[in-house]
């Protein structure tokens, strides 16, 4: 019981700390660029092409590929990075709180903040799209199953990426650089390598795209776009949703276990030495 209580206390404190941090709102502002891109796209070319397809295209290229991985991984790193660099984490570590409760509490706070921060731009983008292209029915579509594929990203993104960010934050001194390298090299580059190589299945992006594909309605523009990622000699080969979920679960648990292991082993020095 005391372990759960400690986890809750760390979560509560971490949540408000993240929300009060200026850097959190800077990355949130970066996330709002997605809304801007949706607005510009709808206003400029919305009358020349299918608005649903346009919305899906922008969301896939900007929100799912760039905003969600960067923003949520950043929040995961930030949940511990500032406390380590300033040394405030030492105030917790000298208390009778198990380190595992500290790291889990930090993860949960990063998860909730990430969820909030990526839900707002997505919701705003739907509102903007509805306002600029009312005939496409984005308002209705949000309530219908057609938006469900995107919600997969809102569910799994904040679960998995912050866990990886937390691991980088606890394992490496230059944690933000490592996190950025992971997103740019692994998530952006490896996830678009040919499906035959198998490497891409080891990325979070690929698993999320697979889930989105599985939950897209037959014949929808999103499904046809996603199928391009897995075309092989004209045959669409998409792994089943279960294998994508298993891969995401692997990432999630592996990152949390590694974060806990790193946090348990690491000796935290004074603020000056950490920076």
């Amino acid at each position: 019981m005391s372990w759960l209580r400690d986890t809750y206390l760390v979560f509560r404190q971490g949540f408000w700390s993240l929300l009060r941090a200026k850097s959190t709102w800077l990355v949130f502002a970066f996330g709002l660029l997605y809304v801007l891109v949706v607005a510009i796209s709808m206003a400029k070319v919305g009358d020349r092409m299918d608005q649903n397809r346009l919305f899906a295209q922008v969301t896939l290229a900007v929100f799912i590929t760039i905003v969600v991985p960067l923003l949520t991984t950043y929040i995961g790193v930030a949940s511990v990075r500032d406390e380590i660099s300033q040394g405030t984490i030492l105030h917790l570590l000298v208390r009778p709180v198990p380190r595992s409760a500290i790291w889990l509490g930090k993860y949960l706070s990063a998860w909730l903040v990430s969820l909030i921060l990526i839900s707002i731009p997505f919701g705003l983008a739907l509102v903007v799209a509805q306002a600029l292209a009312p005939q496409a029915g984005f308002g209705r579509a949000f309530l219908l199953r057609s938006q469900w594929p995107f919600l997969q990203v809102l569910i799994y993104g904040p679960l998995v990426y912050p866990a990886i960010g937390l691991f980088f934050g606890l394992r490496f001194r230059w944690s933000m650089v490592w996190a950025l390298a992971f997103i740019l090299i692994w998530e952006e580059f490896v996830s678009v390598t040919p499906s035959g190589s198998g490497a891409r299945t080891l990325t979070i992006s690929d698993s999320m795209r697979t889930l989105m594909y599985q939950f897209s309605a037959e014949g929808s523009s999103l499904k046809s776009m996603l199928s391009r990622f897995d075309l092989k000699k004209g045959t669409v080969e998409v792994p089943p949703a279960s294998s994508a979920r298993i891969m995401l679960a692997w990432f999630f648990f592996l990152a949390l276990i590694l974060a806990n292991w790193s946090g348990a082993r690491r000796e935290f020095l004074s603020a000056e030495k950490e920076t």
Partner: protein, 260 residues
Amino acid sequence: MNQSLLSFDHVNKFYGPVLGLSDFSLEFTGGVVGLLGRNGAGKTTFIRLASGLCEPDLGTVRVMGEEPRHSTGIRAQIGVCLELDHFYESMTGFNWVKLMAQFSGLGGAEARAASEKMIELVGMSEKRKKRISSYSKGMRQRIKLAAALVHDPAILLLDEPLTGLDPVGRYEMVELIQELGEAGRGVLVSSHVLSEVEMMTDQLFLIHQGRLMAEGSVEQIRDQMDDQPRQVLIHCEQAQELAEELLHQAGIDGIQLGEN
């Protein structure tokens, strides 16, 4: 015989190639004891090991018979006032102390009452609702001390608690530390200034280059030091003549003349 509150048994601690502590052994049984040594002597490493922030590379550190790094239970018996000057700055002093009380296992109402009491003890009642970011260095030291005391620990580790305090603040802090010792708490105070430590206690652990050089009262340590070579700096008009004279005296190992 008093039961040992804190014991270091042949402890070695390295930070890569840098020596923290070397073959360091001591027993601390209670009262107020100063941990005296120059900057970099190993005082902070000692506090970090004793509070469970890090593990020794060799040897064992025990607080009341248990290893603080691995026992959350025993960490509840330790109050630590780190030299570190960072807090959750947007919090009020009261909320900070209360949060630390909760992290130390006190329930909501209990934590609130203990925080009120400790904040009053350190003389911060009037400023308790102000944000920590608005506190002076002295206030921050006091609020750190309140947080260290809030869960009523058996042993208190204070790392340079007088740093940054004005003379009045120093006097009050010294009085408070003495009162804590008189109340039966074990208090270890680190400092690099002998006069500061002497204000609080005459019992010392003297640390130099990661080793425990001497322990006991100031007088006892001075007696032990009589056997050790000492450097004495003399300012005078006729240095050359004085040096020639001194060279003929017994007990002089060498003389070095300065430029001025």
